[in-house]
């Protein structure tokens, strides 16, 4: 009896801690995801960008079919807003560059907080403390030059050389 009680208590405690904010293992999540059978991703850019990852995911987690809707944030975000307004979502997961839409959706309470395993390894300068969204890649923009036509010592290491009088006059 005492053992049963402990087991029940443990189950109750586990139930409490199994909130979306506790990081679960892949196997724990997979056990529940299998029954859903489908994943709908809306992603920035052409759908083929996601093909490789989707194939790997489907192979790693049999029983879940992935559907990708590609496009640009300017089209995807309003489409998702309409789904939210109609109370009928087609999208499960979204990723694109327009940070402002994530910030807005978070404010509107449209997102499901998810604390991934390894959350602490995400740099605080990228992650969201409330885990409404997750930084999945980090991108950078930098100058580049043609190495056949521009000598290394003339490489544009400062934007100022693109506007200097000698550059404009030459």
């Amino acid at each position: 009896m005492r053992t049963l009680f402990s087991a029940l208590l443990a189950a109750a405690l586990f139930g409490l801690s199994a909130s979306p904010l506790r990081a679960e293992t892949l196997d724990e999540i997979y056990a529940r995801a299998k029954g859903e059978g489908v994943l709908s991703i809306y992603g920035g850019g052409p759908a083929r960008l996601y093909e490789g990852w989707v194939k790997e995911y489907e192979a790693r987690f049999p029983g879940i079919k992935v559907r990708v809707t590609g496009g640009y944030a300017g089209g995807l975000a309003p489409a998702i807003d309409k789904q939210i307004a109609d109370g009928k979502l087609d999208v499960d997961f979204v990723t694109f560059q327009a940070v402002q839409e994530f910030i807005r959706w978070k404010r509107e309470g449209a997102l499901l907080p998810f604390k991934m395993e390894g959350f602490e390894a995400l740099d605080p300068r990228f992650r969201d403390a409330d885990v409404a969204y997750t930084p999945i890649n980090v991108f950078a923009i930098a100058p580049a030059f043609n190495t056949k036509l521009v000598a290394r010592e003339d490489a544009p290491r400062s934007a100022s050389i693109f506007s200097s009088p000698c550059s404009a006059a030459s």
């Binding site: 892949l26 999540i29 529940r32 995801a33 859903e36 059978g37 489908v38 994943l39 709908s40 920035g44 995911y57 790693r60 987690f61 640009y72 939210i84 979502l89 087609d90 997961f93 694109f96 560059q97 327009a98 940070v99 402002q100 910030i103 959706w105 978070k106 309470g109 449209a110 499901l112 991934m116 395993e117 390894g118 390894a121 995400l122 300068r125 992650r127 997750t134 930084p135 999945i136 980090v138 991108f139 950078a140 923009i141 930098a142 100058p143 030059f145 043609n146 190495t147 056949k148 521009v150 003339d154 490489a155 544009p156 290491r157 400062s158 934007a159 693109f162 506007s163 550059s167 404009a168």
Partner: protein, 183 residues
């Protein structure tokens, strides 16, 4: 030497490019745009057109290239390389992903996100990971060790301010004409 030989995407069309221009103008002032436009730069829709133009030698340089994209082209033997800025900040951002509260398949989405964010996958994404326990790509330094501008959210969060900023750049450049045929 760069006259007529510079190219970028349109800052009034692509917010990543807008972020790059804005980071420069914050440092050098709007006067920069007058000087830059005096070099008769080219504009094209989409970063793929930028990388192709510089790789083919039709343009000599740009300050508007996705850094990982340049590294990929370089590794494939194209005559192109990153010019790491001496003092200018490198615009960076974390590409976000999120699950909807009323998603029909929330566990499949959680599973995807957790799997994609695991070290094994993050080490293969071909750009920097937000995880500090994943090595940087291409033998480069951790992204936050560079002088970076990580304030994209500030630029885009207020819709009126964002729209005004796009318009201001458009006043120098004009509307999107060169669609490039690739996005």
């Amino acid at each position: 030497m760069f006259r007529g030989k510079l190219i970028t995407a349109y800052p009034n069309d692509d917010d990543a490019t807008l972020f790059a221009f804005q980071t420069i103008v914050k440092k050098y002032g709007w006067k920069y745009m007058d000087d830059y436009m005096a070099t008769e730069p080219k504009f094209i829709q989409g970063h793929l057109g930028v990388v192709r133009s510089v790789g083919a030698g039709e343009s000599l340089a740009t300050f508007d290239m996705m850094l990982h994209h340049t590294m990929v082209e370089k590794s494939e033997g194209k005559p192109i390389d990153v010019a790491f800025p001496a003092t200018d900040a490198i615009p960076i951002w974390g590409q976000l992903g999120a699950i909807f509260k009323d998603a029909p398949h929330p566990n499949a989405a959680r599973l995807y996100l957790q799997w994609y964010m695991a070290k094994e996958q993050q080490a293969r994404i071909g750009t920097w990971s937000a995880r500090n326990d994943v090595p940087p790509p291409f033998g480069l330094k951790p992204i936050l060790d560079y002088n970076v501008a990580n304030d994209l959210a500030e630029m885009v969060t207020d819709p009126a301010q964002l729209s005004a900023l796009r318009k201001r750049f458009e006043s120098y450049i004009g509307e999107v004409k060169n669609r490039g045929g690739i996005r």
